[in-house]
Amino acid sequence: MEEKKTYREGEARLLEYIDRVSKMREGLHNAPPEEQNPVLEGLLELVEETDRKTLKCLNEGLPMVISWYGNANEIIHAMGIHTEGVVFDVQFHMYLTDPPMKDWYAMDGLGLNDVCSLIQIGTYCQRAGLLVKPGAVIAMMEPCDAQPLLHDSFRMHGWDDIPYFYMDYPYGSEEEDWDYFTDEIKRLIAFLEKTFPGYTLDWDRLREIVEETNKQYILWEELGQLMRTVPAPMPSAFTPGWPLTQHHAQGDPRATKVFQMMVAGAEQAVKEGRGAVPNEKIRILWGDLNPNWDKQICPWMAEKYGAVIVQSFEGYAKPYEPVDTSSHEAMLRGLAKRAINQVPMIRQARGTVDTLLEDIETIVRDYSCNCVFMPCHMGHKDVSGTRQFVKNLCDELGVPVLFMEVSLMDERYFPIDQLKRKISDFFEATGLADL
């Protein structure tokens, strides 16, 4: 009789993820040349490896923490500690489960409907036992009110016997604010050293990681520069710059290679004067994270209106400054600035409305956008309080703006058909459809 396997918390789901991604990657690898996609294959390799590392931590009792993109994860990795993401996998697999979005339907039972869908799904994953219980939680306290509370909720629902460290973000962007967050990173290091005895910060390893990620951010911005070309060399299918730099093990040269491949592809298209969208007419700034449901609107907009999203806040790499690796202090300070002032969402949401407006203005000008889409994601209550600022700015810039009210993660919040009608009405009312 076959022995029934008893899974530990999070293990069954992790194995499912690994199995699926592994098959996808192998399928791509063995596909005929015209169907191969080395960029996607490279990304899948990193996704799979992150999950395999999580499994290894579970199996071998190695140190692992829950962490987020705004927590200067370079530090954690340079200490030899693995980071598990809360929401990357559940999003990556959302349309691959059987039935599609099964976790998202299940999360509705939580009754947290007013909260960002991403936070809801993260809450669900922990309560449903889909995450591997870590050795500690590094809570990110931006970019929205719900983000820190997600971690408090972990504590109230079974994970109260592990230590937590909350990263407190300053509101301002002055020298004293950088000082404060640099010190916060030092406190994080002390916390990790205490929580995982024997694991200390390897400064040489940190320098290696940072030097590698510096290369990646430069390549990412090169990609952005190429997207400024008219016609844009890449379609609205948003680039995976964010996951490559901040959601998987930082400093992996394989991620750099993926960037290099994307840059090479875009360069070639520019050289050939080939736009990704035939008859490109409308160039859009998408003022937020990339939506999970982009495949449902981008090809439609491209075909019907010659519209392409040339940049989003997620894909916008210009703000990233190379981190100075000349001293320990310089590295920590550079990582502090990156975490609080350069990563998406936290950059635009933390502090006053200024950064959001600065980004819209710069992108519209740099990328020759002729309209702005503000998704006003239901979790970004701050963005929804900026509509008059954005409207005034767009009036000054001479570009129309479309305000939506969607969930970037959960298409059920605003039916796609309605959204398409809204976009059509907007293009027609502003004359963009007649270009």
Partner: protein
């Protein structure tokens, strides 16, 4: 004004924004600064000779004007408040101090300061840490010192330690008296309703302090003399800011009494006194961040907060807990959800209510409360 009973005055002051006491204060050359609740210590303004006014949206009858600036996923408090700003209901203020309260309020503040500040009001902002700890207390104190300097520069005053300590003493005295209103609901005879206590406390955030202190003393003497009536079902009110005593009256109805609470216009602001130390600004930062009861904005405090609620509830011998939140408030939605888990585990009957700033569906609230009371 002088012929009215203190409670009548409190209802008058709490039921509007600009009030006769502020008008008189202003007519005599006094300044009034509005602040977004709970994290801007009133004592610093008092030490500057300024009357602090805790911002409310009282009197709002709609949100239409604000909807140009905020959207339907912003909470009704922020929208009603901005509506009042646009309507000119806050023209009497000389300045406004904001802080990073929540995503709604942060942007509401930005809109007011940058797009709607038509009469050149002075604006200032305090960055308040979102977790406890020594480094955070230091930072908060440094932010408060910066605010203090900005007030000094703007209003040409000197805020000395002596003046600060005097203000702290005065506020502590007020807190002590307000706590008496809680003590008078501990027994089986109730002398004052939850709605009246809320009103009395709200008034204290809205008028010159010395006048308020005298009225409060008078009011407490009256309440002490009152016969009272036997307690109905004893409830503890939980949530954030409460600006509408009518909601409490609805909850109390004819058969229940709100005998204690954990809200900002209640126990959170008065349960403990500010310690007197050698550095009054640090004492205020320490008090706000580490000593007084916290709310969900201060990360990592959930379990401690809920234990504190349990302790306060047990002391007041409550039969049940009513957790009220505004729709679209992420902080209190999570708080409500987590508290519910805690309450279930600890056998604490709890009713969860969702409301909007402008009370509607009062019948529904009554029905839900009644059904809850029947289960107790």
């Amino acid at each position: 004004m002088s012929n009215k009973k203190p409670l009548e005055i409190f209802y008058e002051v709490a039921g509007t924004l600009d009030n006769p006491y502020l008008q008189e204060w202003k007519a005599n050359g006094g300044k009034t600064i509005g602040y977004y609740y709970s994290w801007i210590p009133e004592e610093i303004l008092m030490a500057a000779g300024i009357t602090p006014f805790r911002l409310r949206a009282t009197g709002a009858t709609g949100m239409e004007r604000a909807d140009k600036y905020l959207s339907s996923i912003n909470c009704s408090y922020a929208r009603c408040h901005l509506n009042q700003v646009i309507a000119g209901a806050y023209d009497f203020l000389d300045g406004v101090i904001g802080f990073n309260a929540c995503d709604h309020i942060r942007r509401e503040y930005d809109n007011w300061e940058r797009l709607l500040n038509k009469n050149g009001k002075w604006f200032s902002f305090v960055d308040v840490p979102q977790k406890q700890g020594d480094a955070q207390t230091q930072r908060y104190a440094s932010q408060l010192n910066r605010m203090k300097s900005a007030i000094e520069a703007k209003f040409g005053v000197e805020i000395t330690d002596e003046k600060l300590n005097y203000a702290i003493h005065l506020q502590n005295e007020i807190r002590g008296l307000q706590r008496k209103l809680y003590e008078m609901r501990m027994g089986s005879v109730i002398k004052v309703s939850g709605a009246d206590v809320l009103t009395a406390i709200l008034a204290g955030f809205s008028m010159p302090k010395q006048i308020y202190l005298n009225l409060l003393k008078e009011y407490i003497t009256e309440v002490e003399k009152a016969e009272g009536k036997p307690s109905g079902k004893r409830l503890m009110l939980l949530g954030g800011e409460f600006e509408n005593p009518e909601l409490l009256s609805i909850i109390e109805g004819k058969s229940a009494n709100i005998v204690t609470d954990m809200i900002w216009d209640g126990n959170r602001s008065i349960l403990y006194d500010v310690p007197i130390g050698s550095d009054p600004i640090y004492s205020l930062a320490d008090y706000n961040l580490n000593i007084r009861p916290q709310d969900p904005r201060t990360a990592g405090t959930g379990k401690v907060r809920f234990e504190q609620i349990k302790e306060v509830g047990e002391k007041a011998k409550v039969d049940g807990y009513v957790h009220v939140k505004l729709a679209l408030c992420d902080q209190y939605l999570f708080d409500q959800d987590d508290f519910n888990a805690f309450a279930k585990k600890n056998g604490m009957p709890t009713l969860r209510l969702d409301t909007e700033y402008i009370l509607a569906s009062t019948g529904q609230i009554k029905t839900r409360v009644q059904a809850f009371l029947e289960t107790l």
